[in-house]
Symmetry: C2
Subunit: 326 residues, 2 copies
């Protein structure tokens, strides 16, 4: 399979390293809106190409993995590219997924292509586990916990406060809430009871630290509904201790079965990730295999992770699966 990467930030680099782990795939080109000569990529033999020239690569790329941001890039980028390429994106604005799906679906159908949106881990593997667990345990409750991990959106929100040089925000699940859920108690939990937020902030010299702290902890939606701690650190400490992008979390369904629901059944899917973008990249790459196979069967249009069988994304043969994995 010949793979293209469209956009080369953290996620694009994660996709690149995942492609190198899959012998049935080859990275042929990285497309960038920056000056191509300014980019240095890790894959020998792959080209760096201006995004403006992407249509010239229509016949050389089997699946294009789009590594743009959900806020402004993907709503335009994915439909535009889906006219010419089979694509995979990681669109993660949950409330706008149906609209994005519809736009991408008509573009992909017009181009005769397969387009997978909202791949990754949430949306993606977490969604898929919510669906499986709900199908297996129709009477039950779903819980999703995120973290401990860096939220880019919350870190960015802090960086926009006057006087802030850099910031890193960790989303942390509340351990007591997790244990309550795992034990099948079916608690009703507020946002504050489920997660807390830890902020590490580098301030400008002479900045009013208390004003920054107040601006953070009172910020609606982002921080006000949570117990939020703010710690001011130096730029050196930021670089030394907070350069990584770990994340993870748990999707838990607690259900009941049997006479009068007498038996508790708990399903948990848990991720502990040293690198969020590299794991997301790994998911996009595995599903690119599925997109390639759907296209080879003549399918077209927009799909989600719900539409792929496990066999479709696996590199194993049917014989290997039956003998070793079942």
């Amino acid at each position: 399979m010949n793979i293209g990467i469209y956009g080369y930030g953290n996620l694009g680099r994660g996709v690149e390293s995942a492609i190198a782990q899959n012998p049935d795939m080859r990275l042929v080109a990285v497309f960038t809106r920056r000056a191509p000569e300014s980019l240095s990529i890790a894959t020998p033999g792959a080209q760096v190409v201006s995004a403006a020239q992407v249509e010239q690569w229509k016949d050389k790329i089997d699946v294009m993995i789009i590594c743009g941001g959900s806020a402004t890039d993907l709503p335009a980028m994915t439909p535009a590219l889906a006219k010419h390429f089979c694509v995979v994106d990681s669109y993660d604005n949950h409330s706008s997924i149906p609209a994005h799906f519809a736009a991408v679906d008509s573009a992909a159908k017009a181009g005769g292509k397969v387009a997978l949106i909202s791949c990754g881990w949430d949306p993606g593997m977490f969604s898929l586990n919510r669906l499986y667990a709900g199908a297996l345990l129709p009477e039950g409750n779903d819980y999703t916990f995120w973290g401990r991990g860096v939220s880019q959106g919350h870190s960015d929100a802090i960086r926009r406060i006057p006087g802030v040089v850099d910031a890193r925000q960790y989303t942390v699940p509340v351990e007591e809430a997790l244990e309550q859920v795992r034990s099948g108690q079916n608690p009703e939990l507020t946002a504050r009871q489920k997660h807390k937020r830890e902020c590490y902030v580098v301030a400008q010299e002479g900045a009013d630290l208390e004003a920054i702290r107040q601006a953070i902890v009172t910020m609606p939606a982002y921080f006000a509904p949570y117990d939020t701690t703010v710690e001011f650190i130096t730029l050196e400490e930021m670089r030394k201790n907070h350069a990584q992008l770990p994340h993870g979390g748990s999707v838990i369904r607690t259900g009941v079965t049997g006479k009068d629901g007498c038996h508790k059944q708990v399903i948990e899917y848990k991720l502990t990730l040293d690198s969020n973008p590299e794991f997301t990249g790994s998911a996009l790459v595995a599903y690119a295999r599925g997109v390639y196979r759907k296209a080879a069967k003549g399918e077209t249009g927009c799909v989600s992770v719900f539409d792929f069988s496990p066999a479709e994304i696996s590199p194993l043969s049917r014989e290997q699966m039956l003998s070793h994995m079942l």
Copy 2:
């Protein structure tokens, strides 16, 4: 969907209670090799029918869920029934799955039916999670831990020892091994390092308890390779404290991504089940929905859980999935 249950032991009853939780399904008949009048089932309106008359129900049942044992029942039962019905079974003899698959496949193709084998949680949901995790993290190690839970096979093995009236064996994962694996240390673990075995035994009055204990702990394959504890209890204690069939376990994959594998990524799928047969039954019922849908599309032959997309087994509409689950 009209569902039949073939065999009415613990698993058959688990399937029956799962059907009652799914409004798109109806149990129409339970087939038994015992005298039908000796069976009392929980579903109003469903019939109890002699297994000998099963072929008369060809046109009244959409999917037959076969609840026989893997050792002797299913190898003959599933191919025989797959000629006349779409079927689901829970065949769990891992090493003979390819042979069972081949036999069921030719029967199902001859009959124009869809047959799903080896559904449940292991094989089943655990297999599927091993496949997903391996596709996402191609460089890594798989670990499967079972328990704490009752192993029927090990309990039966103890019951065959002279002087034993009843027995219950719990498979227990070794907590230190689990923690080592979860932390991404990639240990190589022997059988003894992964699981221990707890046995509760009711002996005949006057039996040689030390001889029974020795017969258990030295039993090849079943107990000798493990740290095994044996506790003798009364029949009353057995009935009071060991009447349930809890089980569960974890499938864990620890992989690496990034430059020189610098980042650890851990995926864990964990089940904590009060009732093993009811959870297995819930899985069989969810996948019966998928079998029905594959048959409606004109597919035939044998399939595994690897061949179903999550959407195929879910009762939700595409709109519900995109809006609420993705």
